[in-house]
Symmetry: C4
Subunit: 238 residues, 4 copies
């Protein structure tokens, strides 16, 4: 993991906070490019304040390699179990994306209707109902078992809702996981508005979902987002 | 009451304003850790501008110990009467939280559907109808009697709506009362959106409400919120 | 008209812009305290940029006393004709307050449901339909006749909607006209949300409207708003 | 194309981003005042960061006159084909205006109800369904053929929705194309809110649409918008 990749991760925290996708409680991780059984995640700290020195390395049991005397986030099992189940995934975001939550508590499926978020797909996104695995929980994914159950619900999807809690988005790089989180929130708003206007909506069809996947690399946005985020991190240090 | 606790209170005013939970007219108080029959509250001033010297001390009749020639807020009886009725409460917030008001004027109950605000509970929150106590009022809780009536409506709940006016949230510390205010507003928005999507909603059940209570201490958010708020207070002084 | 009053007017423009109540096209006036047949209004300029030297004085025919080579706003007749018809009014705001417009194009009445905007009243606000006076207009109140017709629709009310256009709010001082504009927008949002939740709403009754009128002087907000606005005006000058 | 016109174009990118009308992916162009077969458009870069040196010149086949080693935006054919089809158009904006998208995926027409956006017209705006021209596309207008089809859908209208994607607005100058984008977004929000309040809406009639067209030159807003945008561009350079 080189300096640029660590900076990507610091930037990711701040980008998600800036876009209102994570509040004080979300987190984002990056699988180590050097060792697929390791990943990097910030310690338990508000995302807007993450700096390089807050990043810790974990194994796939969510044990910190060197805890540095820092608290780990309770829900790190979201990350470790998804990395275990999904070799294609290099980055995971967990957030409380506010406009996604209403879908998670109703039977209404998030479905692809906007080309920046057509990764949602024709079938829509799965929704993790923790109650099926553990009754009377605090809804936090705080054990390997709960992480495995979430990873199972996620399956091969790019994201999964989490009932009454938020969502998780994944990607084969950090631009995708972060960009998907930003545009999932936006698409959720659009879908709520569209459904209020009409019950007859033109969703993306399978061919369009497939064709538009490559465009959603968020590569035009990333350098702008990253630069602003790291400038802020630098300013915060002073 | 030490310097840090007074700063917590100054920060609380500014945090609530920053989150759009209070406008020019809300207030937050802290029961004295030294004397359960005393509490601290800012003088009648816009919350975004509160400084240490604006904090006044009151007894449970809402009489300022030393008024310092300053105006007290009319609605201080909200605070004194809740402190009198609820020995467990150490901090009280009164706000005009905009997305809570629509619930206060309809028969629709705010209910727990989001894990950051599951303190709302299975039964939902009470709603103070001032008209039952005083007809033709200006809706302000400006007497001990009205304060007592509000405290009675609140009962053992963590918050109560106030019809056509706003709400009051309480906590066993200032992090809880402030955090509950922030997340109550957010949960109210989510509930309006969820109800627009579907009438069939998965609410938190009693076991989940109980299990998730400890998590809602807002401890990860507080240091970030506090630091930003006090930096702004310092900047305003210049 | 002394320096403080002129500064109040400059501040008012900037306060309304800051609150999103006026965009590039709203305006606010102040009747001269020295001569009831004169009023002050900024030249045709974006509200966020108004400075003392942009304020012009007008008579009740909307003729500038000294035009200083500046363009007057087309819709100054809103102000002059309301001042003519309403001796009690000392300040007039015209805005495109976005959440008020939807009410202006439907038959749905804005009604008092929030104590900071209970001036709306039990009967609700009138709505100026320019089409009844002039067919095929550009909707602008650009003649004395249209100004008179608007003033007639306003009657004794504190505000009137303008169909497909915005609204006008008045007050016996500038704090009221500005504060009413800010809270009218907020109340409109709350009413849309409340109506989406339920058709059964607890509106203010006549006694509550009357009792809460004195509270809505926006006096706690004004010094904060004014100070920020004038600091910005000063900063803009540099 | 003189310095002032190039600065107008730089400002336009930043104004649209500032108003939330374009995110990282929109673009705006200006037909060359010197040669109707040429137009200016920024290279593939996030709009908030556009500087003078990012502007490239294109012919009506969307070939850059001097590519300067820079990437062109894929969807430049939107611009070239509209300039070809519409000699009256001097500026084109393509955006993902969020509140317009819900209309593009339902059968609900955007119609004129607000005087700052009455250019929408009595008949409402056309909606480009790319599926009619190319099945299984990524929704991007990345060929001359797709550009021509979009221009055909646009016809003589001032704007066209693009299903599941966004919209395009045009004008006889850059103030119009930019101003129309800003107020189209605002009008879309108002229409969603009005439709939620009532199915009976007072739309603009044909005479009002015609009469209000000249007012929508956005000339009072433009100098303010432009100055702020260019000051930011200057600040970004440092």
């Amino acid at each position: 993991m080189n300096q640029q990749q660590l900076e990507d991760l610091v930037a990711a925290y701040r980008i998600l906070a800036e876009h209102g996708v994570i509040d004080a409680y979300g987190h984002v991780s990056l699988r180590s490019p050097d060792n697929p059984n390791r990943f990097f995640l910030a310690r338990a700290i508000a995302p807007q304040t993450v700096q390089l020195e807050d990043i810790l390395e974990y194994d796939l049991d969510s044990k910190p390699i060197d805890p540095k005397g820092r608290d780990s986030v309770n829900e790190r099992f979201i990350h470790s179990e998804i990395y275990r189940a999904r070799p294609d995934v290099m980055s995971v975001v967990h957030n409380h994306s506010p406009s996604v939550v209403p879908f998670s508590v109703t039977g209404v499926k998030l479905r692809a209707l906007f080309h920046m978020a057509s990764f949602i797909g024709v079938e829509g996104l799965p929704n993790f109902e923790i109650r099926k695995v553990k009754k009377g929980s605090d809804l936090l994914v705080r054990t390997p078992e709960l992480g495995k159950a979430l990873a199972k619900t996620l399956g091969k999807a790019p994201a999964s809702l989490m009932r009454g809690h938020g969502s998780v988005t994944v990607g084969e790089n950090i631009q995708r996981s972060v960009g998907r989180s930003v545009y999932l929130e936006m698409s959720a708003i659009m879908q709520m508005q569209a459904l209020a206007l009409s019950k007859k909506i033109t969703w993306f069809d399978a061919a369009e979902v497939k064709a538009s996947a490559p465009v959603q690399d968020y590569k035009r946005a990333w350098p702008l987002w990253r630069e602003k985020a790291l400038a802020q991190a630098e300013a915060d240090r002073k």
